[in-house]
């Protein structure tokens, strides 16, 4: 059908066609609104090759994810809840340049991963997860930043809350409360 010279080229064309057709089909098969139909996504744990086109769907995030931390001081008093991830107010320049958005997204991703563990794993197992570790590090960073203000800190506790943002008609919702963690000073968390 094809000459010897043509064959490699036709093979490349045919291979590209098959690869691209299979790629699109797998992508389409991974867009079911119900998350349990994402079996094929296990082929791509970082969602690079099989994009997830279900933006803000079916259930969009309508809360801000906040990591709050409070500290127990050596004099026995405790601080109020402080935010460990300040969400910057929107500015018109964010249209063009908004590097902080990735931080907000990262915290949101970490909470989503952690919350998925809740129905399945016990607290002691959750505390070994990377997502828990990363959120704890965020809380620790806030604790260290508070050393100048509060002096000696005995320990801390952090919480994940869902904040309804600008909507004052709804209360914040506690999603997760950590155990009391003793603070070991500047080396803590290394």
């Amino acid at each position: 059908m094809f000459s010897e010279q043509e064959r490699p080229g036709r093979l490349a064309e045919g291979s590209a066609l098959v690869l691209l057709a299979v790629w699109i089909t797998i992508t389409a098969a991974s867009q079911h609104p119900v998350g349990s139909f994402d079996r094929l996504r296990k082929l791509d744990p970082y969602s690079q090759w099989i994009p997830n086109w279900r933006f803000f769907a079916p259930n969009p995030g309508i809360h801000d994810v906040q990591v709050a931390v409070r500290m127990l001081l050596t004099d026995g008093s405790q601080t109020k809840w402080l935010s460990a991830n300040e969400i910057k107010d929107r500015s018109w320049t964010d249209m063009f340049y908004a590097p902080n958005r990735r931080n907000d997204k990262k915290v949101s991703d970490l909470m989503a991963i952690l919350v998925q563990q809740f129905p399945v794993e016990s607290l002691s197992v959750i505390e070994t997860q990377t997502s828990y570790y990363e959120l704890r590090k965020l809380a620790l960073k806030r604790v260290r930043q508070s050393l100048d203000e509060f002096g000696s800190i005995r320990g801390y506790q952090f919480a994940l809350v869902k904040d309804p943002g600008y909507d004052d008609d709804e209360d914040i919702e506690l999603v997760f409360l950590s155990r009391f963690e003793p603070f070991r000073g500047l080396v803590d968390g290394d």
């Binding site: 057709a21 139909f37 296990k42 086109w53 997204k105 990363e134």
Partner: protein
């Protein structure tokens, strides 16, 4: 009027791009998107989230950070930063290289490879724009690697265009399945957040609900209807792309997601190129890819349906191997049991939870097999007169029917023997109903993390869970009926079972009868709960086992389980550590606790067979 007519004519005329023009335009736009993304990464704090406060010597491409010449730069400089700088350089080269084929190829390869590498490291915090730029870059690499063979280039451009179409369509239809989107509450809900919202727009949409509805419906219509771009001979291309670009600009302004403009914009030339009819194109365009995609898609659906059919036949064959009893309407209920050797051994009948199969009892059967006849069955898989008949009568998924069938099973296998019922979840509820109606048959009851008839009225969490679960069950049932069962990920569900058993359990889980039956059964259960007249007090020993995790997540569950234990002449509650609702039966630890409870209940039933009924 003249200008308006001209503008409309332009808006609804098909674009006419050539292949190389399309490739170059795509490359230039994606290069801008890549530069934008890398600059943000370099200047931001995603990396800083993980940067230790303590300054330590670090090894970097520029040497040890204690080297005074580099310490200030290198302290905050990592390999990822170096790769981002390379990406910027490659993007600039790609943008500028109009004719240099080698530069185009090299830049595309560098950008694709670096995106793959960075994707693993910057996974958290990445978003849809990163997915799009990688996708476009990878397709451009394929086109350039084939030395611009026209067939491959056209296939790559078609792939980009189809991915764009899929992205809008999938996004739209996924939104339609969400209640918040259907009720026009989604956009306002997103706008109220500080991270992705906009206070001004949130207030405006609250003040003018009509505007909110219009915006919401427009987004859904635009996304769901996007595929019509290929049905209008190219005449809708400019209009639809302008509309979607306006949507992205709106998102950029209100949500701060400016990167989506360039990322999605980079796919538009490919769509414009492919949506125009070939007859209008000045050069020959190869449209093999849509045909290849259609063939692949149809083949995939066919394969999925074939596997679904084969799975169903396998289940029927497995059921046919089991013993059977006749129940109402000439149906057969099939069950498995072991023969412990001692004909007077007690009988333990296991009742599954919602959507569960008899495979879940594997470890319990192993534990009790030498001391009791353990009977397991699948109450949703009833068969007609022969294997070739349809497997079930649709209207008989009522809880009362299940109770009647369980009574029949008890009469056949347990009559005249010590009979213990073990029920998990909804199965625990069914067992309790049967035990309350036929105390003459039942010696004792073990309820494992059972469903309580008042749980939806007493627990907000359970009620919210049920509200979320119902639409998911319906969507799952519909999808599985269409043959999509193979796409369900079950790895986390059956992880506590041995592999061959987990495989069989997965087949059952993917079968349409499990879901259609389960949905009907749960509907019936909800009505039964609402009825509220079931007698809960039992005159037999009752052991209630509560999964530690269930109680941790919802303390009210612990209270309700305690009530079930207390509503019996002799009952007790055991909290099983380190298990959740599934592993309390399907895991070794949970099954061991259940076995122990069965033995305790038997011991008590033997010790005080009359004392209970005499109300000591």
């Amino acid at each position: 009027m003249g200008i308006t007519r001209w503008a409309l004519a332009q808006l609804f005329s098909p674009p006419n791009l050539k292949r190389n023009e399309t490739l170059r335009l795509t490359e230039r736009i994606v290069a801008i998107a890549q530069i934008h993304s890398s600059i943000e990464h370099l200047s931001n704090g995603v990396r800083k989230l993980s940067t230790p406060e303590k300054q330590e010597a670090k090894s970097t491409p520029f040497g040890n950070t204690h080297n005074p010449a580099y310490s200030r730069i290198a302290t905050s400089f990592s390999l990822s930063d170096f790769v981002h700088l390379s990406k910027i350089a490659a993007s600039v080269a790609l943008y500028a290289a109009n004719r240099a084929k080698l530069v185009q190829l090299t830049s595309n390869v560098v950008l694709t490879a670096s995106s793959v590498w960075l994707g693993r490291r910057n996974h958290l915090g990445s978003d849809g724009s990163d997915q799009v730029t990688f996708l476009v870059q990878a397709h451009l690499t394929i086109a350039r690697l084939a030395h611009n063979r026209p067939r491959v280039a056209d296939a790559a451009l078609w792939a980009v265009a189809l991915q764009l179409t899929l992205s809008y369509t999938a996004s739209g239809w996924a939104k339609l399945s969400g209640e918040l989107w259907r009720n026009d509450g989604a956009i306002r809900g997103i706008m109220r957040t500080r991270s992705y919202g906009h206070e001004g727009l949130w207030s405006l949409l609250g003040k003018y609900p009509v505007l909110n509805v219009l915006l919401s419906k427009s987004v859904l219509a635009l996304e769901c209807g996007f595929p019509i771009v290929y049905l209008a001979h190219g005449r809708l291309t400019r209009f639809l792309l302008s509309s979607t670009m306006a949507m992205h600009l709106g998102i950029a302004w209100t949500m701060g997601l400016g990167r989506f403009v360039t990322a999605f914009g980079s796919m538009y030339p490919a769509l414009a190129y492919t949506a125009t009819p070939r007859s209008l194109s000045e050069e020959r365009r190869y449209d093999a890819l849509p045909i290849a995609v259609s063939v692949t898609f149809v083949s995939a659906i066919g394969l999925l349906r074939l596997r679904a059919y084969s799975r169903s036949r396998h289940l029927d064959a497995a059921e046919a191997q089991k013993s059977s009893i006749l129940i109402g309407d000439g149906q057969k209920l099939r069950y498995s049991s072991n023969a412990p050797g001692d004909p007077s051994a007690p009988v333990v009948i296991c009742e599954n939870g919602l959507l569960a199969s008899d495979h879940y009892w594997h470890w319990l059967v192993q534990s009790l097999r030498s001391e009791a006849t353990v009977v397991t069955y699948n109450r949703l898989l009833r068969t007609g007169g022969s294997l070739s008949d349809g497997p079930h009568v649709l209207e008989s998924w009522e809880i009362e029917q299940s109770c009647a069938n369980l009574v029949r099973l008890c009469e056949v296998v347990g009559s005249g023997k010590e009979l213990i019922l073990v029920g998990h979840s909804l199965g625990g509820y069914i067992c309790r109903l049967v035990a309350s109606r036929r105390p003459d048959l039942i010696s004792g009851l073990v309820q494992v993390d059972p469903t309580h008839p008042s749980e939806l009225s007493r627990s907000n969490l359970k009620r919210m869970g049920n509200d979320m679960m119902m639409p998911v069950m319906k969507a799952t049932s519909r999808s599985v009926s269409c043959g999509l069962g193979d796409l369900i990920d079950v790895s986390h569900i059956f992880r506590t079972l041995p592999e061959p058993v987990a495989k069989e359990a997965a087949m059952y889980y993917r079968d349409p009868r499990t879901w259609s039956g389960g949905l009907r059964e749960w509907d019936s259960a909800l009505e039964h709960f609402a009825d509220g007249t079931q007698e809960m007090f039992l005159d037999i020993p009752v052991a209630v086992l509560s999964a530690k995790h269930s109680a941790e997540v919802e303390p009210a569950v612990h209270e309700m389980h305690a009530e079930l234990a207390a509503a019996s002449a002799e009952g007790w509650l055991t909290v099983v550590e380190a298990v959740d609702h599934m592993s309390i039966v399907a895991g070794k630890v949970g099954a061991a606790a259940v076995s122990d409870s069965v033995r305790e209940v038997l011991k008590y039933a033997r010790k005080y067979p009359k004392a209970l009924s005499e109300g000591l």
